[in-house]
């Protein structure tokens, strides 16, 4: 009885701590020694087998049980040996013993042992005969139900579920059934199971939910599993579940923030575990990718680098791992052998020994058994875990690889853009006052590489000092959220370059100014071309101005004219610099010739014509001083036609002249007039008379016949005023409706001012013209000549 009590107390204290085990073993051994061969001894040997995992104990137990005809012990020992061989990979041997155990247990109808036996037979068949495996699991389950052993039932249920999950592949109905079994198992374990058992159930159920596409349910269960892992401080599971949950949130639910939280937890806790490189690698890769998506480039790069380091470690370890595994196995076997020997010694020592010796041995056992036991469990667990994790690792690794490939492609595209576009573009953070990004070609344009800008500096260093205020002003603008476009010079390698910079502000959703984007182009060439063009323009204008002075020089100066004509004005308003209208004045012995001429067109071409006209008139009057105006026109027309080859029908230019010519004789009592298109106005005592000109110009003939010009003689009285002009004045468009000024109005105007002094008349005409013209362009050269006799 005493022995039995001790036995049960020991059983009650049985835990996973090796100390307890060793203590237990101590006690068991001492009891063993003290015991005679009986059922208790059989049981003790069974216990010893369970704590030491040494099959010898099981065999001894079997031996003894058979000898004393202890049927239960026999069945149990056979089961033990069968289990041992199963866990040691000797499946055929295992099955042999299990079947023997089955027979023995059936004889005594020990359902508990049968439950175990059936389950293990099921495990063996699991690999290649699912139906038989299921059969045995069901048998096991039945036994459990009959004896009310719920926990063992949960193992059977899990095992059946496992068959349905992976065994009958591709059949989702079967997968649903798997879940049913898993859920039943979970139910039991949540009530009665250990944390580890609950966690295992949650794990397998969530996995099965994943497979039938109910990821949300799987998520639920995994969150539960994580809580349990935290309660039981199962660090490996915390890391694993946090990682898996993180992935689910990130990849499936697209909830980057929550997913990142989980991944970071996995990472932090994972750091405390040793030899966790594979998982840490995956975790850090996912974190890197998630930070990137969230826009935190700094953290993303940090974790990416971390993952690279881990990757290197993994590769190094993988190389060693294959060697390690066989090493471990080798060590295991050695240890086992050692312990067998140690055990035998310790038996003897234990009986005799004082406390000190016991302690030494105990430590030796501690070391030995802990190594053995832990190694066995660890290797077994690791193997299973590794297989599982490896599979999931492969998947997530591929996903992240794809993500990084895509990233590399877009980075490449970006690089192509920045390397081929000449413009520099940048993102400047206004709050932190530094460049977030600047394209690498900034070095080509500014002579400053990107790091210079990232360090918080800007282009002011190279800006030409005269343009500095402009650049500073632009910065003020951008700080106020106003876009700008400026052009400024920079000095790079002692060269001056022109830069055009355009910048736009960027606001966040609340309207707060965050940063500005900008683009800088090298416009040195354009500026150079502009300068060349400007210079050419100036050259051209300069030469036209010079032409003008020549033109003016040819004209008889007004003060010369004033010597003979006391009262006159000449209002001349060229449309451009050089005029197509000109006046002609020549004093002869017999009279004064005064003419107002208007050459075809205006500007430089008309200017040329005016020079020719002037020259011809000089020639004509010079050759015959008494010549009449009409004759002048005849000869002028002839000369122009001849010299410009205007009689040839194929001649390009048919340019000519409208002109009014006056000849004052010495007495000033008559004036002769001839006109081509341009009339003469004669005002006598406030009455205006128009003497019409001939309606064809000088130089061009619309018809092929030559018509002589008409000579008119007009009597003059002192005080009369005469006006000759080109059509530029009365044809000017203006006023409210953009109409011509019209001859009618010009006549009225002249009549109204005819008695004013000549200079005043000129002024009034000028002003009236300007007012009428208003905003319209001047259409033609203006020339009005007034003379009072």
């Amino acid at each position: 009885m005493k022995k039995k009590i001790t036995y049960f107390i020991l059983l009650f204290c049985w835990g996973l701590t090796t100390n307890a085990k060793i203590n237990k073993t101590d006690s068991l051994l001492s009891i063993l020694k003290a015991n005679t061969a009986d059922t208790t001894k059989v049981k003790i040997l069974h216990q010893l087998f369970l704590t030491t995992d040494s099959v010898d104990y099981a065999k001894q137990s079997l031996q003894l049980a058979k000898t004393i005809q202890y049927k239960k012990g026999t069945a149990q020992a056979l089961l033990d040996i069968g289990r041992y061989y199963y866990f040691n990979g000797k499946q055929d041997l295992s099955l042999e013993f299990l079947l023997k155990a089955e027979k023995a247990a059936q004889e005594i109808s020990n359902k508990k042992i049968l439950a175990g036996i059936y389950r293990y037979i099921g495990f063996i068949y699991r690999n290649n005969d699912l139906y038989t495996a299921e059969e045995y699991y069901n048998k096991s389950l039945k036994m459990c139900e009959e004896i009310g052993d719920n926990i063992s039932a949960s193992y059977a249920l899990s095992a059946i579920g496992n068959i349905y999950e992976g065994g009958y592949k591709g059949n989702s109905k079967k997968n649903k059934t798997a879940i049913d079994f898993y859920l039943k198992s979970l139910e039991i374990r949540e009530k009665e199971g250990s944390y580890d058992e609950i966690a295992a159930s949650l794990n397998e159920t969530s996995r099965a939910y994943d497979q039938i596409g109910q990821q949300n349910k799987a998520l639920e269960l995994r969150i539960k599993g994580l809580k349990i892992a935290e309660k039981s401080n199962s660090t490996e599971n915390i890391v694993y579940l946090s990682h898996v949950l993180g992935n689910d949130y990130i990849k499936r639910l697209h909830d980057l923030k929550t997913g990142l939280e989980y991944q970071l937890k996995a990472y932090e806790i994972g750091k405390t575990l040793k030899n966790n490189y594979d998982v840490m690698y995956d975790i850090s890769k996912v974190i890197a990718a998630t930070y990137y998506s969230l826009g935190d480039l700094k953290k993303s790069t940090e974790f990416y680098r971390e993952s690279q380091i881990l990757n290197d470690s993994i590769n190094a370890i993988k190389a060693r791992y294959s060697i390690n595994l066989s090493e471990i196995q080798h060590n295991l076997v050695n240890e086992l052998e050692k312990q067998k020997l140690l055990l035998k010694d310790s038996e003897i020592l234990k009986v005799k020994a004082e406390a000190e010796k016991q302690t030494v041995l105990r430590n030796a056992f501690l070391l030995g058994f802990s190594i053995v036991f832990i190694l066995v469990i660890i290797v077994f667990k690791e193997n299973k875990q590794k297989q599982k994790v490896n599979k999931e690792l492969d998947l997530s690794y591929k996903e992240i690889e794809t993500a990084y490939k895509t990233l590399a492609i877009s980075e490449n595209k970006f690089k192509q853009i920045t390397e081929t576009i000449n413009e520099v573009f940048y993102l400047y953070n206004i709050i932190e006052k530094k460049y977030e990004y600047i394209s690498p070609n900034c070095e080509t344009l500014f002579g400053l590489d990107a790091n210079y800008f990232y360090d918080g500096k800007n282009t002011k260093l190279v800006v030409f000092k005269d343009d500095l205020p402009l650049v500073v002003n632009a910065n003020v603008k951008i700080d106020a959220g106003i876009p700008y476009e400026i052009e400024y010079r920079i000095i790079v390698n002692n060269d001056i370059r022109w830069v055009a910079e355009k910048s736009s502000p960027i606001f966040d959703e609340t309207g707060k100014l965050l940063r500005n984007s900008g683009i800088c182009s090298d416009i040195t060439l354009r500026k150079f071309n502009e300068e060349v063009l400007r210079k050419k323009n100036k050259d051209i204008t300069d030469s036209i101005l010079y032409a003008r002075t020549i033109q003016d020089a040819i004209l008889v100066p007004k003060d010369e004219i004033a010597k003979q004509l006391s009262e006159f004005f000449i209002l001349s308003k060229p449309k451009e610099i050089v005029s197509g209208d000109f006046y002609f004045y020549k004093e002869t012995k017999t009279g004064i010739i005064l003419a107002a001429a208007d050459c075809t067109g205006h500007g430089v071409p008309a200017g040329f014509l005016s020079m020719i006209g002037n020259a011809f008139l000089n020639e004509i009057v010079g050759a015959n001083e008494t010549i009449s105006p009409a004759k002048i026109l005849d000869l002028l027309s002839e000369k122009i036609i001849k010299s410009l080859n205007q009689n040839r029908s194929d001649s390009e230019s048919k340019d000519g002249m409208d002109i009014a010519v006056l000849r004052f004789d010495k007495t000033n009592l008559t004036v002769q007039y001839a006109g081509a298109q341009n009339s003469l106005y004669h005002i006598h005592q406030g009455q205006l008379t128009e003497i019409k000109a001939d309606m064809f110009p000088v130089g061009i003939s619309d018809t092929n016949t030559f018509t002589a010009f008409t000579n008119n003689t007009i009597d003059l009285k002192t005080g009369d005023s005469l006006y000759i002009f080109s059509d530029g004045f009365h044809d000017q468009l203006g006023g409210a409706d953009g109409r011509k000024f019209m001859k009618k109005n010009m006549k009225e105007l002249l009549v109204s001012i005819h008695d004013k002094k000549m200079p005043e008349q000129e002024k009034i005409l000028d002003q009236t013209f300007n007012n009428w013209k208003g905003r319209n362009n001047q259409l033609d050269d203006v020339l009005v000549i007034g003379v009072r006799v």
């Binding site: 067109g601 309606m695 009365h730 044809d731 109409r739 019209m742």
Partner: protein, 125 residues
Amino acid sequence: MKNLIIPETPETPEINFDPETGVLKISGRAYSNDISIYYKQLDSWLEEYLTSPKDKTIVELHLDYYNSIFHKLLFNFLKKCKAVTETGKKLIINWYYHHGDEDSIDASIHYSKTLDYPIEKIETE
């Protein structure tokens, strides 16, 4: 045959020639120095039209202002139009002038004389 439509610009007139109605309208201002395009376009269109003109061709001139360069073009244009009468078809030239614009009236008289063809003077306001 298509219409010839050249939109008005500040320096050139609007051209609207309709081969279906036989109405050839020129209106606006003409003081651009570069009207070589006009020459070509008007010329080639007119040539094509003249191969099968309408029974009655009406030239409508609404010119506020034109310079001597355009004057050349206009004269040649009218001369060509006159050719229509040689095949027995009718030609009417309507010259629109603003009230009081003697120059315009005079010009139309001058054209008429030189062309040796009547030009209708129509006053507008």
